[in-house]
Symmetry: C2
Subunit: 528 residues, 2 copies
Amino acid sequence: MRYNNLDETSVYGRLTGVAKAYSAFDFRQRLNAARVAASSIPIADTLVYNWAAKKVDDDVITLLQTLADEQELTAKYRALLDGEVMNTGENRRVLHHLLRGQLGKDVIVGGKNVGEFYRKELDRLSAFACDVRAGGIKSSGGKQFTHAVQIGIGGSDLGPRALYIALENWAQKEGIKPQLTAKFISNVDPDDASAVLNSVPLEATLFVLVSKSGTTQETLTNELFVRDRLKKAGLDAGKHFVAVTSETSPLARNSAYMDSFYIDDFIGGRYSSSSGVGGVILSLAFGPAVFKEFLQGAHEADRNALERDIRKNAALLDALIGVWERNFLRLTFTAVLPYSQALSRFPAHLQQLDMESNGKRVNRNGEQVLYATGPVVFGEPGTNGQHSFYQLLHQGTDTLPLQFIGFNDSQLDDDIVVDGSTGMTKLKANLAAQIVAFAKGEDNENPNKQFPGGRPSSLIYGKRLTPRALGALLAHFENKVMFQGFVWNLNSFDQEGVQLGKILTKKVLSGDSGDDALDAYSRLLGCL
Amino acid sequence: MRYNNLDETSVYGRLTGVAKAYSAFDFRQRLNAARVAASSIPIADTLVYNWAAKKVDDDVITLLQTLADEQELTAKYRALLDGEVMNTGENRRVLHHLLRGQLGKDVIVGGKNVGEFYRKELDRLSAFACDVRAGGIKSSGGKQFTHAVQIGIGGSDLGPRALYIALENWAQKEGIKPQLTAKFISNVDPDDASAVLNSVPLEATLFVLVSKSGTTQETLTNELFVRDRLKKAGLDAGKHFVAVTSETSPLARNSAYMDSFYIDDFIGGRYSSSSGVGGVILSLAFGPAVFKEFLQGAHEADRNALERDIRKNAALLDALIGVWERNFLRLTFTAVLPYSQALSRFPAHLQQLDMESNGKRVNRNGEQVLYATGPVVFGEPGTNGQHSFYQLLHQGTDTLPLQFIGFNDSQLDDDIVVDGSTGMTKLKANLAAQIVAFAKGEDNENPNKQFPGGRPSSLIYGKRLTPRALGALLAHFENKVMFQGFVWNLNSFDQEGVQLGKILTKKVLSGDSGDDALDAYSRLLGCL
């Protein structure tokens, strides 16, 4: 396998040259019904990627195919699936796809079949969730659990939280019972844990402690906060806690928990929603069958991402268009704009997924790269964003690539007709209108009302936001980020950039920071 | 008054020249205890701005003072306070400061004293909120209101929602009773309204309809959705609704509402949190005295922003350092990082405030500008963000200016000691550590563990997030954005960029979009 920097590829110069002549790309000429119809690629059975409003033509796509081939993107993906050590810095395999189904060889590590291990843990957590939901496992006071609170941060929080919010209304409409209410405690700010605990019936709440290492400062602090509260309420904390962790962590096989569910070092935090990290809380809330539907959707998207032809591989094309925009058109950051209130926290999860994976300035060999890598990602649901930051997106001095997401049907199917259309129809009309407004703009003799257009976007759409569609959506972005990491020749699976802050924090807390500026800031904040 | 573009100022060339030589700015040499101690400016009685970790020295600050003087920034602010028409495109005054207190001349429009009008409306909404809270005004079924739901979008949603979340725990700790639970419906996605209505006791819920024009598509659709639900529940909708609107809107003096509270065209949506738009819901939830404390904090910050000397004017210095970073150091977008879970939605409000105000490519005369204007703003609370996107901030290929916010004390004062420190102390230690880590970085022989540093940040800090501190925080950013708009010679008070999408949406809904690409997208989404 070749591991070259992007600017070492033979096609890099050609893409640079084409991009220079590309300012003339005119959506008003090019973006028509035929192009929209011809620009859809399935992500999975439930979800489609459409790139009609991206600034690419056939020539560029052909060059991007060459780039994909030269950087061996799908071959690297296959190697990753087969268990090659892709997280080189930490000497780890990268196996989150295997949580959803097997697409590569059996991965055997230390005599253990990793796929079997993942399947066994899924079975165990499913059985546990069924028991809790059926009332077989009860609280220390003998009550049926009605609430589940996850304690975790980063990858142990953002993904599971976004997924729970995404499915809450769907599950209600489907009549899934019981539906445990899930909440999340993440921040070391004590107001976070305190407020969540004030909002749940402690005696009927099950806590899911999630930390792969078992040493995360915020999570352990919050655990003790919760245990203290349980004790004060006269409850037996041990009967209110389960853990999701690695088998080598201090939390494993620890009698302080009713049970522990395991992941391993091959599941990165931001890729762990498909493991027990997401699986325990989602299975408690909605039942294991819903979580397995979610995994199935992700698995479909994973399979589609194997296709070498970028005209048939949505994640690959999305990744490469992103590289085209960032490195050649030199567009800046990316806004993710779901026209679905249920996806309100999905952009926050994508922030971690993308920015922690590819926000790197050295390649997998530790050499500094001379091109831009991962972009900043941010977003809020539409139509809310339209009344907020879209002004800058339409008329600001920077052009940002946009990622729209939309669905044909609502989740709750509770709607009324106002002025001849439902709320859902209005939502979709707004979405379609924005894509075209950003692309084509509009001339006006008043320059303040002039819309330059030329602002590219893509659209991911499906019939309805179901668990299966949600799994496909998540996997699409995971695979997109993976392919971009391969293009940029990064290790997308470590996060050394989070370490320095942890070290300096410990120094402050130890009372000997060794830096007088740090002491001065600590004094300002009253922690010295 | 002179209205020149930034690049027409005499100091522009000098700043450009200085910036070129500025890459050598070395925080490891410069950032020490003395600089931290010398770099604080009060924003108000309750809040301080510290710029020690910004890439500026005395020479740059002196040049920025020259820029402030040349662009007549505080003189323009005074003109705005005195009622000059600063929203030139729409021929409107800009008077949101007057909601908090009077700093300029009496503003008389059409014989009416605008300040008196604002004070009268504040008195009216305060009296109404007191009546509701005391049980004098009851629901149609004779119940005391326990919940208030605001229906609004954009400026009628983001600010009030962020402020409510910011004060919810504080109010609980202070023992404020009754505390009405507030919720918000904004999106035209019907799942938003449906889910909120499923979560409140309809018979004890008061709805606050907020639309200045009285014609906002999303808001009117959601109003009818709610009225339909109230009717189906056998409730008299008229006794569950109040309106916040302008006196010329169709909602004014309309018997469909128990009462209406008025704003006028001089209060822009994103600047309306200090009016009835924020005032009714906050006064219902926490009582009018709390809302008035909030206004007082904002007023203090407004007064401090009058100071001509940028070394004494936090909003002015913050604004000018932002211009220095964006236009001269050519740093990209801005992350807002509150180390306070209560401020979890504050960055979303700042997104609108900043990006809708200054995301413009033409100056106030409608001429295209040739320099970067308003940046993208995004953020999540710390320490959560540390486990998410900070990787890119520390080690990515872009340098982003950072805005930290922190407090000495928690809101709920419910905390425990773990490993020798409280959660609050850990939170603050993390914040101090991050500032220094971003600024100074750290050398490591492993390039993957190398932190380049040189990443500038500022810190806003206070003793505790109280209503008064929150008011000062909001006003600080409003005034910063205003000053930056003056520097860039923009009209920060209109938002023409939101119009095209509205027009195209109406065309889709009318069935005659006039654009075959738009029809094709509508078909994909199932709304044709």
